[in-house]
Symmetry: C2
Subunit: 389 residues, 2 copies
């Protein structure tokens, strides 16, 4: 029998031009800490100024923390939380991609709890303390990838230990998320692709993780896989296509979050996060793409039917003589078509002698997911070796 | 372009046997007012005793209000709220079908707001005061119909004015809903059918109301229509089929609530509610069935494509020569097959001379929905006359 446990409490404001609602909607406080990346892009694009103005119209004061880096780190979380407390902020806004939003979510934890963030990490070297509350989180997305807009996760790196870990606690579900595809039109082609594939992997990993036969998860993942395989090539060709941006935002930022709110992703994500923790210049989607083909070849025997389902959602008929190959074929075709197959990890400073540490950290940092897939350390080593170029 | 605004904050605990989680899950208070029907059925079936025991295990005290009737009334809401306040209850639980759950939601409003319920009604003779807060609501469903488990609505009748009105305010979204199909196994055939069709009408009315092209609404309604048209005949044949009960609970209590959380139902529901307000012995699903066939024949020219979509979800190919007929055909076949076509409203005390008042009250009690469908008073009169038998 199936179950349908679900909890998706975020209020979603979605559609082209909808950022304007920031001026009029009820917000969860009167003084916000606004988290943005340190690259100055939000300011350059005029988005940051527009957000400040809309907040002002809504009677909200804003304090800015703008030092966040691509793979966001504990140090920035602690500094931003200290600033928020000193300035008397009562909620936090993440503006930008997964990095700023995830930082905002981690800051929300530290605005209401003592100690350091790693006290609350539940895997790796974390102290596994429970998180009972957090400051309210609002998100304003400029990318379509992580699903953090509607899920209870944030992913933060501990610079000292090189761990890049998930924090998954209910109090950091955003209370309100603005998903306005117009803000995504300027996203460069490479990032659009990395994030689009990240979104595809979220929903496909959740689909093959669905041990409890959660029917709603099947519905969300199928819809998302169909949408992404249709619209990602379109948006890769023309980043200004607002319709394509809208579909991708829907699949990644709503459905991707909803699926992850129900079940965890698989070891594909954990290996990729380990790479991101060790090599902070490698963006998340890129690390997933490095290993994707070898990973799905390796796991296809473990979940053949589910991987063939995913292939069919993408238009590839299953081959009974080669069970599970459906998704591998569909995925490699999509990667080939969009020019992201065989991306060379060697050009990003990753060397074969780093593989042992990637394997060890991956296994140490995983909880329950690990056993599910029963990939051994040797399997992961094989995946990394086969992916290397 | 489509939008996907959505807000579904209820935590859903779903599946056979899941009521047991009531003993261990975090609840929103320490002392509950439990709302049940006055027919004593919950006690007879042992469900009420089991709920009290599970709550006790969880350290929660319970006060019982057990006078609720089929079409729940303002008097019971006010009496129950007074009891809750006198006893110091800090949350409210609705146990049973839509009647008890809707009463619990209205009681939640009156536990935190002054005056009488009708002060907060936003149509008809209501005083249209805003509802800013309500006590937390928990639901335990024993039926599959209304979707009230996951939506912001309750429907209450004012005995003095004979109005049966919707109250739709965010604070009454349940914080936690237990949907355990095992509790639905004893539901009699007639009620199973009335509620199953109620659920079908929720999602089909929402589907044809989808003016903003909310994609998520399309996804939910399609899934629900497919599930209901497959499983309702099965559960009508064998009420003890737990798999069928599980599918129906998923479609009605989760998807039905999610669709109504996004958009209102149509005038089909408003006419039926008016009948229920004037004739308290007529259960909600029954009043919908009385007029369904004539209603969809009348509106099919207004939304032909959407009604043909619904027909196709139910396995009926659209006929280009008769646009919109697809759903009418699929619906009448399903009603015929389950023995609920041509139910005689005359046997429930409804006479042709009541039609004028039904028409007038319906039009007075509708807000925005009304204009959308541009049904005139004459149209509604036609529907009632054609339905009469």
């Amino acid at each position: 029998m199936f179950v349908v446990d679900t909890y998706t409490p975020t209020r979603v404001v979605f559609g082209p031009g909808r950022l304007n609602d920031l001026a009029t909607m009820e917000l969860p406080g009167k003084k916000a800490l606004l988290c943005v990346m340190g690259d100055g892009l939000m300011e350059k694009l005029g988005i940051q100024g527009r957000v400040l103005e809309l907040l002002k119209k809504n009677g909200v004061e804003t304090v800015i923390y703008d030092k966040i880096i691509v793979n966001p780190v504990q140090t920035d979380v602690m500094n931003a939380a200290e600033l928020a407390k000193k300035e008397g902020c009562d909620f936090v806004i993440g503006l930008g991609g997964g990095g700023s939003v995830d930082t905002a979510k981690a800051v929300a934890i530290m605005m209401r709890n003592p100690g350091i963030l790693w006290d609350y990490a539940s895997t790796g070297t974390g102290s596994r303390k429970p998180v009972k509350e957090a400051a309210p989180v609002v998100t304003i997305s400029t990318t379509s990838g992580t699903g953090t807009e509607t899920d209870p996760y944030c992913v933060i790196t501990n610079e000292a230990t090189q761990e890049k870990l998930d924090f998954a606690v209910d109090p950091i579900y955003p209370v309100l998320s603005f998903i306005d595809p117009e803000l995504m039109l300027t996203l460069p082609r490479s990032l659009t692709l990395y994030q689009g594939f990240d979104a595809l992997f979220h929903v496909s990993e959740c689909y093959i993780s669905n041990e409890n036969s959660n029917r709603l998860l099947d519905v969300y993942s199928r819809e998302a896989v169909e949408v992404i395989s249709k619209w990602l090539p379109v948006v890769a060709q023309d980043g200004n296509n607002l319709e394509a941006r809208t579909w991708m935002a829907y699949a990644a930022d709503i459905l991707g979050g909803y699926t992850q709110a129900i079940v965890n992703t698989t070891s594909h994500h954990i290996i990729a996060q380990t790479i991101g923790g060790m090599f902070p210049g490698v963006t998340h989607g890129l690390s997933l793409l490095f290993i994707a083909e070898a990973y799905y070849k390796k796991v296809k025997a473990l979940r053949p039917q589910l991987l063939d389902d995913l292939g069919e959602f993408m238009g590839i008929k299953a081959d009974p003589a080669d069970p599970g190959q459906g998704f591998v074929t569909a995925l490699t075709e999509l990667m080939e078509r969009t020019g992201v197959r065989h991306l060379p990890m060697s050009e990003y400073g990753i060397k074969p002698e780093d593989f042992r540490r990637i394997v060890d950290l991956t296994v140490d940092n995983t909880g329950i997911e690990w056993e599910k897939y029963t990939l051994t350390k040797d399997d992961i080593m094989d995946i990394l070796k086969e992916s290397y170029c």
